[in-house]
Amino acid sequence: MKNWSYLIAAVFCVAASAQAQTNNTPDPLQVRSWAAGCANCHGTNGRAETGNESLAGANKDEMVKKMLDFKAGRRPATIMHQLSKGYSDAQIVAIAGYFAAQKK
């Protein structure tokens, strides 16, 4: 039931949005938009078409480690070493959290 999951996500985001103002974690709607910037290659909400890695439902810590390794040049890449440098570590953690929470 795709549409119900969107509704639940929307309600969660509204609640979380209010919470975000009280601490320094980024607004969930902001994080959703940052994550959407990855969808061109990794699919809408991280569910990728053939040939690229799906991020939806992947392990958050593993995604964070991979991105930080790309960023530090510890992991070979064709393009991700260049793109990962455009995001702060905190932004990478937030975006990984978004994808980890998506349905596979």
């Binding site: 959703r32 290659c41 699919g43 690229n52 260049q82 793109l83």
Partner: protein, 427 residues
């Protein structure tokens, strides 16, 4: 509309959605939800239409107005010209936007925007009302800068093929019909233009075709810019190593006129060039509807926008995105970028129609793959973040870059990119 009311509307929309998927989605959200009209179903507009629906939990009504029956992708279309792909490979349907996302699709052309009455007028005669309008009309060509192009029949003979579609195939046919030993001349306008590396990729594609099928033929690149505007060393290496004796590059060749009858190109300072196949990419500006609506405030060519929302600086409740905008520094006019604009704009439009603040720190990337042969690819990538002081998007220092060399692995990633962005835009 207050947030609580919106959530109620959205909830109703969702409940209806489960049934609506079976019975047609055009009415999801009922007639009381806010109305968004999107003009232009390219990478920017189609993405915006899908994401406004998704991110409003299907509570905002979206009407997409597009004159073409199908989506034709400019990315990958140079491979149709080179002969390794077909038009079917770059032709996509709008069906999923309608069936999965409940977008109301109107096959028509918008002739006028009335920002006071908040309606757009259709070529067929009707009107469509909006609460917020998203214009993504792409580019149109400044044919007046090449007077000969306005003579009868000239535009059917001297092609641009810079909007994927009928001209893509027509240019391929001209190349197939050209006798071996002929010259294919490609005229490139001064930047900014749609898809900075696109012309150089096209030169590679035609050169590969010639190397296999017409080895005595030449590709002559006549560039108004001083030098190759994107991935310069990588393209030059491809021309020197792979297409030696076939490709010749000439910078500082600013075309001022075309004689279509004799296939001759005239320049500001250089000698005339006559070619067997003349492919002229004319200077371009924002799509006609944006210019006609008074939104092209930068040099009467491009539309200035607020990069937090993509709202026009010239008209309230009207958003402009994609190739039509006055770009931020180092922001390319690309399909990838238009898709990113579409999502940023969609998030802002949903926020504004539900009484929320739009996101205040947009960050998105651009990835552009170019095929230097039918298999080997080079890329350029960049990450762009909003700068609150300068009120524009700036590239993040240290991010981005190009391929170290053309390679087949990136050829596979390029096709994976295409499948994913097509799905993200349309499915």
């Amino acid at each position: 509309m207050k947030r609580r009311q919106f959530i109620q509307t959205a909830s109703a929309g969702s409940a209806l959605g489960a049934f609506g998927l079976m019975s047609g989605c055009a009415s999801i959200g009922g007639s009381s939800g806010p109305k968004v009209v999107v003009v232009g179903g390219g990478y920017g507009g189609a993405t915006a239409a899908k994401y406004v629906r998704m991110w409003s939990d299907y509570g905002i009504q979206v009407t997409l107005i597009e004159p073409n029956a199908n989506f034709w992708s400019c990315p990958i279309s140079n491979l149709v010209i080179g002969g390794s792909k077909t038009m079917a490979d770059v032709t996509m349907s709008y069906d999923n936007l309608v069936k999965r996302h409940g977008v109301n699709l109107i096959k028509d052309y918008v002739t006028q925007v009335d920002p006071d009455k908040r309606v757009v007028k259709l070529a067929s005669g009707g009107e469509v009302a909006y609460d917020r309008l998203i214009l993504s009309p792409g580019v149109d060509f400044m044919m007046d800068s090449l007077p000969g192009m306005n003579k009868a029949g000239a535009q059917d003979k001297v092609l641009h093929a810079w909007k994927a579609g009928a001209q893509t195939l027509a240019l391929r046919k001209q190349l197939e019909a050209m006798p071996d030993g002929g010259v294919y001349a490609l005229s490139i306008p001064l930047a900014p233009y749609r898809c900075p590396p696109g012309p150089y990729e096209r030169a590679c594609q035609v050169a590969e075709y010639f190397s296999k099928a017409k080895p005595k033929s030449k590709v002559l690149i006549l560039d108004a810019n001083d030098d190759v505007t994107s991935k310069g060393p990588l393209f030059k290496k491809a021309w020197a190593d792979r297409y030696k004796g076939i490709v010749e590059y000439r910078g500082k060749h600013s075309a001022v006129d075309v004689d279509a009858a004799t296939n001759t190109l005239k320049f500001e300072f250089n000698d005339d060039v006559k070619a067997a196949v003349l492919n002229v990419i004319p200077p371009m500006r924002a799509g006609d509807i944006a210019v006609k609506s008074g939104l092209a405030t930068a040099n009467k060519r491009w539309c200035e926008v607020d990069f937090l929302t993509f709202e026009s600086k010239a008209a309230k409740n009207v958003h402009v995105l994609g190739d039509s905008i006055q770009i931020a520094p180092a922001m390319p006019k690309s399909g990838h970028m238009a898709n990113q604009h579409g999502k940023t704009c969609a998030a802002a439009v949903v926020a504004l129609l539900t009484g929320k603040e739009p996101n205040n720190l947009p960050i998105y990337n651009n990835t552009c793959y170019s095929f230097v042969s039918s298999e080997d690819v080079v890329h350029v990538a960049s990450v762009h973040a909003y700068d609150a002081d300068k009120k524009t998007m700036l590239t993040v220092p240290g991010s981005g870059g190009v391929s170290s060399a053309a390679n087949e692995l990136e050829g596979r990633y390029a096709m994976a990119w295409a499948r994913n962005i097509w799905a993200d835009t349309l499915a």
